[in-house]
Amino acid sequence: MTETPERGYNTADVYKHLKAAVDMAVGPGEYQHGKLDELHTNIIDYATKKITAIRPASVKVVVTCTIVQNSGDGFHISNTTLWDDSTDSVVTFKFQNQSMNIVVSAYLVHS
C-alpha cells in the first residue's frame, strides 16, 4: 500500500474505510438475495462518505461494490483504467465468508 500524501490523500486510509464499510455492514451475515440492496447501500454509502471527506476537491471518487454468492462456482473481477498513473489511484478490499464474496473498489481520479 503506497503512501501518497502528495495526492492529498493516503491510500492506506482509503483501504481502512473500505474495510470498515464492509465489516460494519456484513457482521455474521449470510447471502440472502433479498437483503442485498441493504448491504450494498450500507457499504457504498459509508465508504463514499468517508472517502469523499479525506480527498481534495479536485479528486473525483467512484466506489463500486460487487457481491457474489459463494457457491463454489468461479468468478473473476478485473479493472482496466486509462488514466494518469501519477495522479490517480485505485484501492480494493476483498472479503469472503462462507456465503458470499465482496469486492469493494475505490477509484480516485484527479481532474
Partner: protein, 121 residues
C-alpha cells in the same frame, strides 16, 4: 488579431460529451464478439477479463472528441450459477461524467462490463 486555444475547458462541448447512447453499442458489440462462443474456464478467465477491459477502454478512448476523458472499466466474468449484484456510487460532475453498463449472459458464461468516464478539466 490573435486566437488562443482554451486549454482548460470546464466542460466538454455538447458534441464531445461522453454519451451512453454512443458507448453502449460499442460495449455490446465487443462483449458479443468475444463471448458468443466462450465458456467459463478458470485458467483463462483472468486473461479474458483483461482482454475485454483493454479492448473496451481503448475503443472508447479512440472515439472522436473523448480524448479528455479518463476511463475506468470494470469487468465481472462468472459462471452462470451464483447470484451476484454490483452497485456503485460516484462523486463527480454529472454535467460531463457518466457511466455505461452492458451485460452478456449465455448458458456457459456471464459477463458484466461497466465503464465510468471521467472528464479531465
Amino acid at each position: 488579431m490573435t486566437h488562443e486555444t482554451n486549454e482548460c475547458a470546464m466542460q466538454p462541448s455538447i458534441m464531445h460529451k461522453f454519451r451512453a447512447s454512443v458507448a453502449q453499442p460499442i460495449l455490446h458489440s465487443i462483449l458479443h464478439a468475444e463471448l458468443a462462443h466462450a465458456v467459463y474456464m478458470a485458467e483463462h478467465v483472468e486473461a479474458l477479463g483483461t482482454k475485454l477491459g483493454v479492448e473496451i477502454s481503448s475503443r472508447l478512448a479512440s472515439e472522436p472528441g473523448w480524448d479528455r476523458y479518463k476511463f475506468i472499466t470494470n469487468v465481472v466474468v462468472s459462471q452462470p450459477g451464483p447470484g451476484s449484484r454490483m452497485s456503485s456510487s460516484c462523486v463527480w460532475d454529472s454535467n460531463c461524467d457518466s457511466v455505461v453498463r452492458e451485460s452478456f449472459v449465455s448458458p456457459n458464461i456471464r459477463c458484466t462490463a461497466s465503464v465510468f468516464a471521467i472528464y479531465c478539466y
